[in-house]
């Protein structure tokens, strides 16, 4: 039997009972569409997170106090106050390091002269924070080294904070009170976007000296950012920085009182989370696909029983068992394939709709389309196999006598 005839016969059989075939296909359509839509939401979340992590600045390492490690294993003394300004000087000596930025972060209430107020994270840092974090300035300027040395009470506002406090007005030159102390606004950052809390739009930047002496009244740093020359040497920098810092802190390098995390570390952890998330969504949708597959099997079984005499006749005029098997399998694969095509299109529409109306990022990847097609074919073969076997094994005489 030729392939073209196989297809022809399958199309003929499917179209001879359009309503039943249509409803069976619908089961697959719903299954595939939900898999595509759910996985696209998962993938969308993933790419959003990757984007926002990359927004933290490229080629950077973050030194955090305490001996915490990825994987939540607690080591060292575990104190959250181990990093000091001297550490910055030590880290600057590491080969390949472009910038080292001390950061002190606290949350304070901010009040504008017009009475509007908000509570947000205040970042005390050196001026290099803007280049390391890749934050550009929309209006005014950043603070200078001199202002850091002089413990000046100046502030650069994130775009959202400026909008919240001053609306359309120009904030530069105005005064705000941070924790009751007057600060002069010298600049407003350009919007950067993103979904994570560390994004510049919701932050206020002040010189770290001012933060230490005036606001936080503490010498300890929240974290230190290290910017390397290029991505390839980050592992070496990480290793050397770790050794130098351990020496400075007089602790065993194997049990440091700080941890150095690269973006890759953060990304890989978050990737694990989003992958689990995507798998979970996909699995839930996969269940509906399974139900659709059982629908296919049910239809094929009914169809084989209904067509027992036809199968007997086909065998009597020369169809081999194998040819009957292929015919039934072609029908079920064709059904799932049709369902798959419509389902992919529908899933794509759903993910567009989710992005447009629910403002959740989605991404239909070619991989998930490919996966959907292979799953469809596999379902067609898997759920068609038993009915096809049943048909192929029918004895021609018994089949011809079937009432």
């Amino acid at each position: 039997m030729k392939l073209i005839d196989l297809l022809n016969e399958a199309i003929f059989a499917i179209s001879s009972n359009k309503i039943r075939s249509g409803l069976t296909i619908l089961g697959i359509v719903i299954g595939i569409a939900s898999v595509i839509a759910m996985v696209s939401i998962g993938q969308g979340a993933k790419s959003e997170i990757v984007k926002s992590i990359q927004g933290l600045g490229s080629n950077t390492l973050t030194v955090m106090p305490g001996g915490t490690r990825m994987g939540a294993v607690f080591m060292g003394r575990g104190s959250a106050q181990t990093l000091k300004e001297e550490d910055v000087e030590v880290l600057k000596k590491v080969e390949g390091v472009v910038n080292v930025v001390p950061v002190v972060q606290r949350t304070f209430q901010i009040v504008a002269p017009n009475g509007k107020n908000t509570r947000t994270s205040i970042i005390g840092a050196s001026p290099e924070i803007f280049s390391v974090r890749e934050i550009s300035i929309e209006k005014g300027s950043i603070f200078s080294e001199g202002e850091v040395r002089n413990i000046s009470k100046v502030a650069v506002l994130g775009k959202n904070i400026a909008n919240d406090l001053f609306g359309e007005e120009n904030a530069v030159g105005k005064n705000i009170k941070i924790s009751g102390i007057n600060f002069k606004i010298i600049g407003v950052a350009a919007p950067k976007g993103g979904v994570m809390g560390m994004v510049a739009d919701d932050l206020v930047f002040v010189p770290f000296t001012t933060m230490q002496k005036v606001l936080a009244k503490s010498d300890y740093l929240t974290l230190i950012l290290i910017k390397g020359e290029k991505k390839e040497i980050l592992p070496q920098i990480q290793q050397q920085a770790s050794l130098l810092l351990a020496e400075k802190h007089r602790v065993d390098p194997k049990e440091p009182d700080f941890s150095i995390i690269s973006q890759e570390d953060i990304l890989s952890t978050l990737n694990q989370v989003t992958t689990v998330f995507t798998i979970f969504l996909g699995a839930v949708a996969g269940i509906s696909l399974l139900v659709g597959g059982i629908g296919i099997m049910n239809m094929m079984l009914t169809s084989v029983t209904e067509r027992t005499r036809e199968i007997g006749l086909r065998k009597a005029v020369g169809a081999k068992n194998r040819e009957i098997l292929y015919q039934i399998l072609t029908e079920s694969v064709l059904l799932t394939f049709l369902g798959g095509v419509i389902g992919i299109f529908l899933g794509w529409l759903i993910s567009l709709g989710v992005t447009k109306f629910a403002h959740i990022a989605t991404q239909v990847s070619p991989f998930s389309v490919f996966l959907a097609f292979s799953v469809c074919t596999a379902i067609g073969i898997f759920f068609g196999w038993w009915p096809a076997q049943k048909a192929a094994k029918l004895h021609p005489i018994e089949a011809l006598r079937y009432e």
Partner: protein
């Protein structure tokens, strides 16, 4: 053409049923044989074995000198496709399918291309005297006599040597039955070996040779003129 040696068929259900008991006979090419007998005489079982739809429990069946009683299912399917044409009592056409497509089915399994198939189908439908106006009508919209002619066209479309007809006029009135019977007799005149299984004696009277079965055994195998089975009933 056909040679049966000591064919026995036993059905094993709750009880053992001996459908055929040690039957031996042969049929030459171009013959027209009627196998007659009451229901339960084993004639349908014999028909199925001759048509390679079933295999005997013991004994040998040679078709054109080749022993087919021990062939695999696939090889039997090939023989059914190429060498044997079936005509059934209840036509066994595919419903909701055109007459043309019904005749085409055996050719699909013979791996012929569409063009050649079309030519062969037209030829077969013409030989079976099926009116051209109805070629593309659905089979379930045709009368019984027309349906049987489609079935005859399907049986001869692969130009088989042997045509087996199982009560071909059983579901037809006597007038239409005669037309169908004459079509089959024409096929015999064209050189196809024709074996008709029937319990209607008037059909048997057209045959040149009668094989009568009773309880799975041959009780008579004779030319029509000498067949006592026919005369007995006639008198």
């Amino acid at each position: 053409m056909i040679q049966c040696k000591n064919i026995t068929k036993i059905y094993k259900n709750e009880v053992e049923t001996w459908a055929l008991k040690n039957i031996s006979f042969s049929i030459e090419e171009g013959e027209f044989v009627a196998i007659i007998g009451a229901s339960g005489s084993g004639k349908s079982t014999l028909m199925h074995i001759l048509g390679c739809l079933d295999t005997p429990t013991s004994g040998q069946y040679f078709l054109e000198g080749k022993e087919v009683s021990k062939l695999s299912e696939d090889e039997l399917a090939k023989i059914r496709n190429k060498k044997i044409g079936f005509v059934f009592q209840n036509f066994n056409l595919l419903a909701r399918t055109t007459a043309f497509r019904n005749v085409e089915i055996p050719l699909i399994y013979a791996n012929l291309d569409k063009k050649e198939r079309g030519e062969r189908v037209k030829e077969a439908l013409t030989i079976s005297a099926f009116p051209k106006d109805f070629w593309f009508h659905l089979s379930n919209q045709l009368s019984g006599g027309m349906q049987q002619r489609v079935a005859i066209a399907r049986a001869l479309v692969n130009n088989p040597k042997l045509i087996l007809a199982d009560e071909p006029t059983g579901n037809l009135d006597s007038k239409t039955g005669d037309v169908v019977l004459n079509t089959l007799i024409d096929l015999n005149k064209r050189g196809h070996t024709l074996v008709i299984v029937t319990h209607e004696l008037y059909i048997a009277r057209y045959a040149r040779r009668i094989i009568a079965l009773r309880d799975g055994e041959i009780v008579e195998d004779a030319p029509r003129e000498k067949a006592k089975s026919l005369k007995l009933i006639k008198e």
